[in-house]
Symmetry: C2
Subunit: 602 residues, 2 copies
Amino acid sequence: MMTFTPLLVLELASDTKKEAIAWLLSRMRDQQQNGGAELIVEQLGPGVSTQEKENLNIFLVGASRQRLLSGAEEIGFFKEFKDGSMRAFTCTNKYDFKDFKGDGDSFFSVAECQYIIKHELDTLRAKDETHVPGYTQAKLYPGKSLNDIRHYYGEGQALYFGFLQYFTFALVPFAVIGVPYYMFDWEGYDKHVVLAVFNLVWCTVILELWKQFSASLAYRWGTLSRKKAFEEPRPGFHGILGFNPVTGREEPLYPNTKRQLRIYFVSLPFVLLCLYLSFCVMMVYFQMESLVLSIHDEDPTFCSGVLLFIPSIIYAVVIEIMNFIYRYAAEFLTEWENHRLESSYQNHLVLKVLVFNFFNCFASLFFIAFIMQDMVLLRQSLATLLITSQILNQFMEAFLPYWFQRRRNKMMIHKVRKIRTLEDKELPLVEQVRLETYMSTYLGTFDDYLELFLLFGYVSLFSCVYPLAAVLVVLNNITEVYSDAFKMCHVFKRPFTDPAADIGVWQLAFETMSVIAVVTNCALIGMSPHVKAYFPDSETQLILWTVAVEHVLLAFKFILTFLIPDVPKHIQIKLARLEFESQEALKKKKMLEASELSKTIQ
Amino acid sequence: MMTFTPLLVLELASDTKKEAIAWLLSRMRDQQQNGGAELIVEQLGPGVSTQEKENLNIFLVGASRQRLLSGAEEIGFFKEFKDGSMRAFTCTNKYDFKDFKGDGDSFFSVAECQYIIKHELDTLRAKDETHVPGYTQAKLYPGKSLNDIRHYYGEGQALYFGFLQYFTFALVPFAVIGVPYYMFDWEGYDKHVVLAVFNLVWCTVILELWKQFSASLAYRWGTLSRKKAFEEPRPGFHGILGFNPVTGREEPLYPNTKRQLRIYFVSLPFVLLCLYLSFCVMMVYFQMESLVLSIHDEDPTFCSGVLLFIPSIIYAVVIEIMNFIYRYAAEFLTEWENHRLESSYQNHLVLKVLVFNFFNCFASLFFIAFIMQDMVLLRQSLATLLITSQILNQFMEAFLPYWFQRRRNKMMIHKVRKIRTLEDKELPLVEQVRLETYMSTYLGTFDDYLELFLLFGYVSLFSCVYPLAAVLVVLNNITEVYSDAFKMCHVFKRPFTDPAADIGVWQLAFETMSVIAVVTNCALIGMSPHVKAYFPDSETQLILWTVAVEHVLLAFKFILTFLIPDVPKHIQIKLARLEFESQEALKKKKMLEASELSKTIQ
């Protein structure tokens, strides 16, 4: 049986040579002085099913408490000090940290312990430039509650859930304001302008306050001031061997100009072509729509009534298929662009997928709003798109995969029962680990953020036409929190933690959306008949006024963004104090050294 | 005679008590161990004129070479290392720095030496919370050439001259393109759009490239990576004594809410009121203008012809007076807002003055362009304003004060000749120092940048109406370089150096101007008759197209700003390498300490 707490599972390809495994294990177990990782590794015993294809090269990896502490110091985790400030953890003064009690048993979260071990494995590889065959997977103990996401899944995941909840609460006042507009059918110049200005201020303020909120969270988690280690090249990166100009280490190099050429002459035209295709599909949809409408108008029967839904359904299905194919193409292209860093790869992938998804989701709405200028149809389409996409999404991303996994689980219990008797419903560790091999791999928070981004678009872009959208999104988000949590615990293998300090490129994406929202809302208000009534003689005057108001609002928005600081004042002071103290300490140390030197000379 | 190189002149009020002076001098001369500054101080002998009012409390301050080196280490100057990278200077490995030769005689620039001494005097004061009576002035050795501005005046001044020269060169292609437009009277849709797009791309690219250029300069000067010391409160700051939350030192505290109230409820309304007043003055000017025109049209005589110029002259004079009064009011208000930091004070002052000057300079042009829509008048006004303001400016800021100082110089030489015979035309040091006491104090680069900012406005805002503006500004800038250099050397006391890494808030101001320029140029093109001819039936269509193009251009501009990195790639790599090496060194040191500790235990 286990004599240590296993923290991650290492699965090597089943055809890995025995010598290679033995060497790797010795490297992992060896003492640090000898260049090893000083970890505890134990092979997982065979499962109940004695099939030929079963992989025996599965290892459970853990570490002694002392090893975890020294690893944490190496990484530079920031922890709460006795005086309430956040400081980089060091083993020598470990008892000065607030939560360090006894032998530091629960000082680090499970996520942090896992990150330490992953870091050790990664540096082991980096030091010897060896490729660890197979891949590492962490999937033990799927959590049963959402109590401490950060403790279990790490900061990246916790920030996503934090953002989801923040976003939901932030939408509540907007939803509250939207209800009377919908109920009493409020329309008119003044009311629209009030709503648009509220929308603008709201979008700007919540995005700025989120920055402050996430900075506070990251400060408390110790990821805000933690210095990032130099990013190693991502696994797929290839090139001619050379010397890295920063680290001086030997690693593949790939000229930046070549990458730029690939981006601007292949990826960019490809994205534009896809957008054009998507545009064509949309035009076909509108033609089908008008064709069906004319058939229905000529001779309205039950059949023609059903026919009315056909174009929308076809369009929705085609869009889903296009998104699916495009996603693969985008991943392929971004891989082919050969980015050195994982972060740069992610940014380029996010940008590609974002533009296409934005176009697919909103192009038809833009067309209805600004070319057809049919506000009733816009409201209908918006509601339909919002509701159906959300139901489909939650079904596809959580419940369907769960159902598959549940079936596998039952089959496994059945198999085990054939051999041994099971007292409780929980499987033994060996079987549990083998079962979880079949779980899907969680590909990061990308899809989750994308979903929130599109929801944000539905709420903000056409808010003055359909204020009820906020209500729908709030309701959706409440179920989303649970379905996402469920998905993380029961559907996916537990992902590696990601010590993030903010939501990264998504902050920019949301801010861009809020700028576009100002433009669309101003245009929508300018087009409303109530506003047109104020300028009965001159359409030119109306447009000029609309444009002027839009520019003023945009300028106001930028000033507002500028005025609200990104990091809250009290965190700023704490960071400044830390910096000041370290400078003072350095000064004192230097003076001490100098006086010692002078003594030695005398 | 002098036995050391005097680096700055300390002038105490002539009625300072002798005990205070003796105490201060002892503090300045005392060894560092005893808390002194370890500087060399010598009293300046009396001058030739034995007038009663002459101040005898003038001291020349210098320092030994060893003292300068240790001071430089304390401040943390970055210097070029043997391997070409920039590292923080330390005395222990001073010979590893590239330019350190012999006893390090010319290793630090004069500006840096001066900064070190100023820093020592400032910390002397800060340590004991004592007020040095009087004020420090550095004014020795006015430079004779522009060869090494940075060496003599420090980075802040050098960056200004760098920007001035960069800006001039950057304008050249624009001037070259503008000439044929003016010569052949090119007008028309396509040509205007080409010019506008060029204008947009040019503005964005030069501002981004300037950031790169200034980062390269600051890297080579060692100010880019130098950590800023904690800013002490500025001299005028007052409040109730308390403890600074960052440093824990006792210093005046002033609640931020109180400051915010003063800003939003006094300063902001005051600025708005001034803008309204300025608007009224402008309206009076236009009424006078039309009145004079009608008189001239009725009965055109020589007198009425002269009368035509009167309103412009009155308006120009009134604007100058208003700018002058407003400047004092803005300084008073910003002082009253009681900012803790000099940088925050500067930002608020710049913002106030900038808005008012922008309005005064361009409001009449905007009125002519968009309300009167008279392009011929716009071109005329632009040219008149540009040329007259530049000539006046250079005359007022350089030649007039120079003339005064020259007169004083001649009088001093005359006086000296009465007593002794002078072989050469140079005055003895004692007389030179006393003479320079009368020179004006240079108030920082504020006015110089403001001038460039307004010039940039003249070029970019109406570039498609008057492309020749760029040519005029290029010509002006060439003389401006010389008049500014002249002014710095012969008119003002030498200012203290300011180890700046960028042009600060002015970068933002120039970028804002370039955004406004996109809007104005699009509007001007939309109003041109050639473009109107493309939309003969519908003015609405024309406006919608103009607005659409403007939005696309603005979006393009933001993307361009985003794509061009602020720090050039090769500097980024150097900074990353420095960071990496310091991290590695820290790791190695920790491991060494740990192994020593384990040895001790064994």
